[in-house]
């Protein structure tokens, strides 16, 4: 995932983050470098732009507030992903506690997507994202990181702390669920 030049830049960035004089400038570089990548990761989990925007900003606020606890034993991207994932899963759990999402009729999420001003897909695309959205939270997370972000199982394992074997199994099952859902709709 990283090249030698990126590793050197990252080491320098981490050193500058630890220095209070250069911390803000270094953090600014991190925001520029990772904000869009994190945006799309969050967006595919929560689907709406407004929720994504809030979660993305909360992610960086939390990262800024916890810079001192970043020991540098993982990559910056891994650290940021973990924060984004925690924020996203917390948000999803909270949202599910306040809605009747478990009883949401099939096709409802796709309908909401198609009426969303910031979604320009066709009905099949909306159904696909509904199928992904119906996966259990952590399985959805693994699927999104593998399928959309094209991460390796090792990278995913470093972020979520699950074994590679379990991740492979989870992803395989997620694919089957999505395929079955789409086949039923067809």
């Amino acid at each position: 995932m990283t090249k030698s030049s990126d590793t050197y830049d990252e080491k320098q960035l981490i050193a500058e983050l630890r220095d209070t004089q250069s911390r803000e400038a270094a953090f600014s570089i991190i925001v520029r470098k990772y904000s869009e990548q994190l945006y799309w990761h969050i967006r595919r989990m929560v689907l709406t732009h407004d929720d994504t925007d809030d979660l993305l900003q909360n992610t960086f606020i939390k990262a800024w507030s916890n810079i001192d606890s970043f020991r540098g034993d993982s990559q910056l991207s891994t650290w940021l992903y973990r924060i984004a994932i925690n924020e996203t899963l917390t948000f999803i759990n909270h949202k599910q506690q306040n809605t009747i999402s478990l009883n949401t009729p099939e096709g409802c999420i796709a309908e909401q997507l198609e009426s969303d001003a910031y979604f320009n897909g066709e009905h099949a695309d909306a159904l696909f994202h509904e199928a992904v959205n119906r996966l259990p939270d952590k399985q959805r997370l693994v699927f999104c990181m593998k399928y959309f972000d094209d991460m390796s199982y090792e990278e995913i394992s470093n972020i979520v702390g699950t074994s590679i074997g379990a991740l492979k199994a989870s992803y395989h099952i997620a694919v089957k669920k999505i395929e079955n859902f789409l086949n039923d709709k067809n």
Binding site: F27, S28, V31, R32, S35, E36, Y39, W40, R43, R44, L47, H49, D53, D54, L56, Q57, N58, F60, I61, K62, W64, S65, I67, Y118, F119, N120, G121, D125, A126, F128, H129, Y147, F148, V175, I178, E179, L182, N183, N186
Partner: protein, 114 residues
């Protein structure tokens, strides 16, 4: 059914120019005082009142309480003081950043003849 066809099709869009100023917006929201990280909230929750609102409420209470005390102790000037009190309340409400709920709490907790 092969789901690979959806892989490279990003059907989600963003408001125009969103990513152009995203960096600046994020940098303006990070708390410079790291002791008090501020989390963006989508809506104001009634009952969660910040420290500044409490300070504003206490200041408001002192002003209004003092004005009421002065009015109650001088019956001959009751009419003039009522007008003064209204002006004072209006000035305080205009110049102090106190939300309506805090003011409502004050009023309902101080339900007097006045």
């Amino acid at each position: 059914m092969n789901i690979e066809e959806y892989k490279n099709k990003n059907r989600f869009t963003v408001p125009q120019g969103y990513f152009d100023n995203l960096h600046e917006r994020i940098m303006t929201t990070i708390p410079r005082d790291k002791k008090q990280p501020s989390k963006r909230k989508k809506s104001v929750m009634l009952g969660r009142i910040s420290g500044w609102s409490y300070a504003a409420a206490i200041t408001l209470i002192f002003f209004i309480g003092g004005a009421i005390f002065q009015a109650n102790n001088n019956t001959q000037q009751a009419t003039a003081n009522n007008e003064y009190d209204n002006e004072l309340i209006e000035e305080v409400l205009t110049n102090y950043p106190i939300d309506d709920y805090t003011f409502y709490c004050y009023l309902t907790n101080n339900d007097t003849e006045y």
